[in-house]
Symmetry: C2
Subunit: 335 residues, 2 copies
Amino acid sequence: MTNPDKPRRATIVDVAKRAGVSTMTVTRVIHKRDKVSPSTRETVEHAITELGYAPNLAARALVGSRVRRVCLLYGNPSSAYLGELILGALKATSEAEANLIVERVTPDLSMEDLAAKLDRDWDGLIVPPPMSDMAGIRELIAQRSFPAVFLSSAAETGQVNEIRIDDYKAAYDIVDLLIRKGHRRIGFIKGDPSQTVSERRLAGYEDALRDAGLAVDEACIAFGSFTYRSGEQAALALCALARPPSAIFASNDDMAAGALAAAVKTGREVPADLAIAGFDDSPIATTVAPSLTTVRQPVAEMAERAVQLVLKLKGSQRPVQTIIAPHAVIERETT
Amino acid sequence: MTNPDKPRRATIVDVAKRAGVSTMTVTRVIHKRDKVSPSTRETVEHAITELGYAPNLAARALVGSRVRRVCLLYGNPSSAYLGELILGALKATSEAEANLIVERVTPDLSMEDLAAKLDRDWDGLIVPPPMSDMAGIRELIAQRSFPAVFLSSAAETGQVNEIRIDDYKAAYDIVDLLIRKGHRRIGFIKGDPSQTVSERRLAGYEDALRDAGLAVDEACIAFGSFTYRSGEQAALALCALARPPSAIFASNDDMAAGALAAAVKTGREVPADLAIAGFDDSPIATTVAPSLTTVRQPVAEMAERAVQLVLKLKGSQRPVQTIIAPHAVIERETT
DNA sequence: GCCGTTGCTGTTAACGTTAACACCCTTGCA
DNA sequence: TGCAAGGGTGTTAACGTTAACAGCAACGGC
């Protein structure tokens, strides 16, 4: 009768039959919510492993509440950490049996378009940088109190839910490393002033110097815009000082790589003549030679937690929260 | 009776009621397969747009054949093109209502572990580089004739299904660009000989020279291993030649970036004194200054087609095929 | 000894969609 | 006039899981 060559996946019904109970009891064992006698539980669990049963997600989604769709915004498809971002988000959504939608944000995206999709197409929104700093998005989300989590945004206020590392502490740590390496005159390349992280990293740099009893010399602070070229130029300026620094901390890896190029141009050996540190642990940090000492953000984990949080947010009116993820200083060849 | 504050999503039943037909007719209109009279079709289509009906994928998956799961292998979470890869795959799987599983391959992955998952956990497999060149994977897949598609693999034989660009033609094109720019002596940095693409790109380089009536000078061919450092050293060697080349084509962007560093070290201006071209259009190509002229692979599109192909493969015993995707030469500042 | 309580388990129906089949009404041809 | 062929449409049941409710023992208190 039944087709013998089609190896059907085990269902709850199969498990129930095998264990000699009803499907409902099996569900109860799986969900661990309601009371089941220990002996029954064991029999069922045995049957489950024996048959290699795995729940049919489609059926669950169908009977349960509507499938939740979490949207992850992105700007540049070949951005360095997009892969990690998606990986983390995908992990969380698959565990929560939600759907992940990855949507590209073009510069001409209007807030109206976005607003229209909020409730209609998505149940939650993850906004990574640089979108997390885009004009209007934060306000739109806050005003509609839509379930959303921002990653490493510039928001200082408790306006929106956010996950980020402690940029101040991370900058402090890496400058502290340079100081422990014996450097007494350390240059800093600040990033784009429109992003709040720039200020936070500058503050960490300054405090690390002060706490070590070193003076903060305004001349040692150069300005960049998070690009390679701006980092190169800023580093060239620092190298041209009457008393050039022996180490430079650039507030992202692209600028640090630019600084590396500047060192080569001015005939400096790295790290012997000039130590360099970056920030982000982007792919370029391990591509260039010597490889960059930098700070790593746990991007995948942050995305994962963001999805978990955004799914919890749905419905429950819990207060806006900020989660600080742990960073790690990664010492490589430039220091 | 019905809860008024819960705005339920429109279902087929709603559409059917609105159009005054049965749900089956609505399904038929949606699938465009069976015959439906033009007037009925129009009425139903009208009702669909009016109610903003969108099919419930869970229900479809439930009633239809079992949900297909496509697995995408990856090695390095911060690899430059992982993001694009996932994006393309995700697009195809969501359109085909399949599931995407992204699984990390660690160096200690055993073929037994992989083999165990083939039929149990996955219905199709996408293998991007560098895994597509890993010892054993191709053989395992071929032997089991499991639905799988390899991306840019080294396989020359029709052993497995594959999607790649024409590496020979791409190398030919970029060298041709250099020749048209007036370069007569062009250096080449070959990649790791264990990857077949290295040979293909070398052949393209050589034929482009020959077709332009230029001699292939063995001295102008240096050897690298696809890393920045190896590219830098190879370029230094080329620059140290008695008759150094006026342009260098490196067979990937990392090595091209290394060559850029070598140019700076030897006091050369790029592109005035030395033109440089890379391959891959990885993020580093637009990060460094001057930005790299390079060849772009349509990674996302290739992943998308790979998923579509692998889903078609399932069941049908169609012959192994190789799809050639279009490449594009992207001219930037280094030429 | 009656009755409420508690602990465990089973029954029923429903989620939204589609495959398989059944049906009716034309149309065309013998 | 009868009858086959087929276009167009509806009916039924099923996919696998779970919520809601119903049932049934065993227990303890009065």
